[in-house]
């Protein structure tokens, strides 16, 4: 009853912001034509950008899961000095403007950077390479995964792990057959958010990795440069990026929705 009565004023209050969020998306889709999208996907420089985006974001995702899972477990479960500091540091890249991230990467891993200088003497130069694209994405996007799965780890009922241990399970077995399955939705949701953020990464990439078609020009860079050269290509890529991001977000929502239902 109350619920129904409140619906109208709530809807009225929400309308301006919702309209504002939806309209630019609709405007973009109206300007992009389906024919162009097909043409773009079937050839030319835009395909290179799509392929590079797919390759680099998958690499980012794999590295994030491999190194981010233990990091999240450490943060969620272990007590150690400086834990809250580490916790804050891990979140820092998410709130940094991407341009700051790019400059930070450049002055650290660039040829005259603290670490980059050492790498350069070994013959490894990161800026302007595909590796730099992945590092930029990793820096801004991996904390999303770490944060999400750390929360999932923390919310697993310790008694269940204890029960497994009592039944003779080793720590690893308990982790694999109790903790991990119970954290799986968090892991998948976090992984998808990281992947989507990596896909949209622009500022750190153009500063640290530069812009070279086929090598470091990901979709967001191609959209930015294309905006000035060929608006049609830019619109098309933007529509593709938008559609992909929407599918990803919808997947996350439905996953987390089921999570709430089963909980």
């Amino acid at each position: 009853m109350n619920n129904a009565r409140l619906r109208l004023p709530l809807a009225l209050a929400a309308l301006p912001l919702i309209a504002f969020l939806v309209l630019p998306v609709a405007g973009l889709l109206l300007r992009a034509s389906g024919e162009d999208i097909l043409d773009t996907l079937l050839g030319g420089q835009a395909t290179q950008a799509v392929a590079l985006s797919v390759r680099t974001t998958l690499a980012t995702l794999i590295i994030t899961v491999v190194f981010g899972t233990p990091a999240a477990y450490l943060i969620a479960r272990k007590k150690f000095p400086g834990k809250s500091l580490l916790d804050a540091l891990v979140d820092l890249p998410v709130v940094l403007p991407p341009s700051v991230a790019g400059i930070a990467l450049l002055v650290t891993l660039g040829r005259r950077g603290v670490i980059g200088g050492m790498l350069a003497s070994l013959g490894i130069e990161l800026p302007f390479t595909g590796a730099a694209v992945v590092l930029a994405q990793l820096f801004v996007a991996s904390p999303l995964y770490v944060r999400t799965i750390a929360v999932a780890f923390a919310s697993v009922d310790r008694d269940l792990e204890l029960a497994a241990a009592i039944d003779g399970a080793s720590r690893w077995q308990a982790f694999r057959s109790v903790t991990m399955p119970l954290s799986l939705r968090g892991a998948v949701g976090g992984a998808i958010m990281t992947w989507a953020r990596a896909l949209g990464e622009f500022g750190a990439t153009i500063i640290f990795a530069g812009n070279f078609p086929g090598r470091t020009q990901t979709m967001p860079l191609a959209i930015y440069i294309g905006f000035e050269l060929d608006l049609r290509v830019a619109l098309t890529l933007a529509a593709i990026l938008l559609a992909t991001s929407f599918v990803v977000l919808a997947a996350v929502k439905s996953l987390s929705g089921r999570w709430v239902e089963t909980a």
């Binding site: 619920n3 709530l10 005259r112 302007f128 530069g210 812009n211 470091t216 440069i225």
Partner: protein
């Protein structure tokens, strides 16, 4: 279930909150639009002569235009400036898509043409020229000592993207380095193989060289002059290989202050304006300082309505 339980409790209070939120939102939007919506200086007459000129200018004009504006404002009390510096190609697109401005200064004729529909084309005239130079990081380990080194294997070169005027000029310069000038036969392709990034404006090219991430970049002489002397060295490009960049300037068709915009353009073309530009390393425009009614450059393609 959870949702209805929450909103059921204290619905009157909730409604009050919603109303307050809606109110504060509309107040915020009112504030924002109040300051952002009017055309540049559309409220011109509230205090006679108090106007703001919005100038879209090529990234390479950054420091110089600030200096010119300061001097102009000192002579014309009540006129202030808002600048939007970026690659000319980006500014042209913004103008075509309806950005409000009074003046557009492009680093090449191509982008002035691209901005065509937004430009009052009979006001287009070249106001200054620029030349290219190769910049290299200063200090040890320098990979490029002379122009021919640009084609050496492993040299990392950064150029502006082809859409950027500086990028297009750079390609023209490299194309002029022919065998008859003492360069190897495949010089151009060797140089292009060494390009590691096509940056979005000429200042981004300079930044990558200042940070020594690139071994060389092609920028305007004025950019090299603006960088700290300790950060970059230059390799000069001989006159016969160099490309003369001609900067056109024009009034934007929907300028709110056409008269003042014209005054500022004339100031740039005046002896004093040209002096300021030369001090920054630019080259005097052909028609400048003699007469300000230079002949229109682009009247046939975009007739003025």
């Amino acid at each position: 279930m959870i949702g209805s339980g929450n909103s059921g409790r204290g619905s009157a209070r909730d409604r009050a909150r919603v109303a307050a939120a809606a109110l504060s939102l509309s107040v915020c939007m009112g504030l924002a639009t109040g300051s952002a919506a009017p055309r540049p200086g559309a409220q011109k007459d509230h205090a006679r002569g108090d106007i703001t000129l919005t100038v879209f200018a090529a990234a390479s004009l950054n420091e110089t235009f600030h200096r010119a504006a300061d001097e102009f404002s000192a002579a014309h009390a009540g006129t202030s400036f808002i600048f939007n510096f970026a690659g000319s190609q980006q500014l042209a697109q913004q103008l075509v898509l309806g950005a409000r401005a009074d003046i557009f200064a492009s680093a090449d004729a191509r982008q002035m043409k691209a901005a065509g529909p937004a430009i009052d084309s009979i006001t287009i005239r070249v106001f200054v020229r620029n030349l290219l130079v190769v910049v290299v990081p200063s200090g040890a380990g320098r990979a490029v000592h002379r122009l021919a080194d640009l084609g050496s294997p492993g040299v990392k070169i950064v150029l502006a993207a082809n859409a950027v005027p500086a990028g297009e000029y750079a390609l023209r310069f490299i194309g002029r380095c022919s065998p008859s000038e003492g360069f190897p036969v495949d010089f151009m392709s060797a140089v292009l193989r060494n390009v590691v990034s096509y940056e979005e404006n000429v200042r981004a090219v300079l930044a990558k060289v200042v940070l020594a991430e690139a071994d060389a970049g092609v920028v305007y002489v004025t950019d090299a002059a603006s960088a700290s002397r300790r950060a970059v060295d230059t390799v000069d490009i001989p006159e016969r290989l160099n490309v003369i960049a001609e900067y056109p300037i024009a009034r934007v068709r929907e300028s709110a202050h056409p008269a003042e915009a014209e005054l500022f353009i004339r100031f740039l073309l005046s002896a004093r304006g040209q002096e300021l530009l030369e001090a920054a390393g630019f080259t005097r425009a052909p028609a400048a300082a003699k007469s300000t009614d230079a002949k229109p450059a682009d009247t046939e393609s975009h007739p003025h309505e």
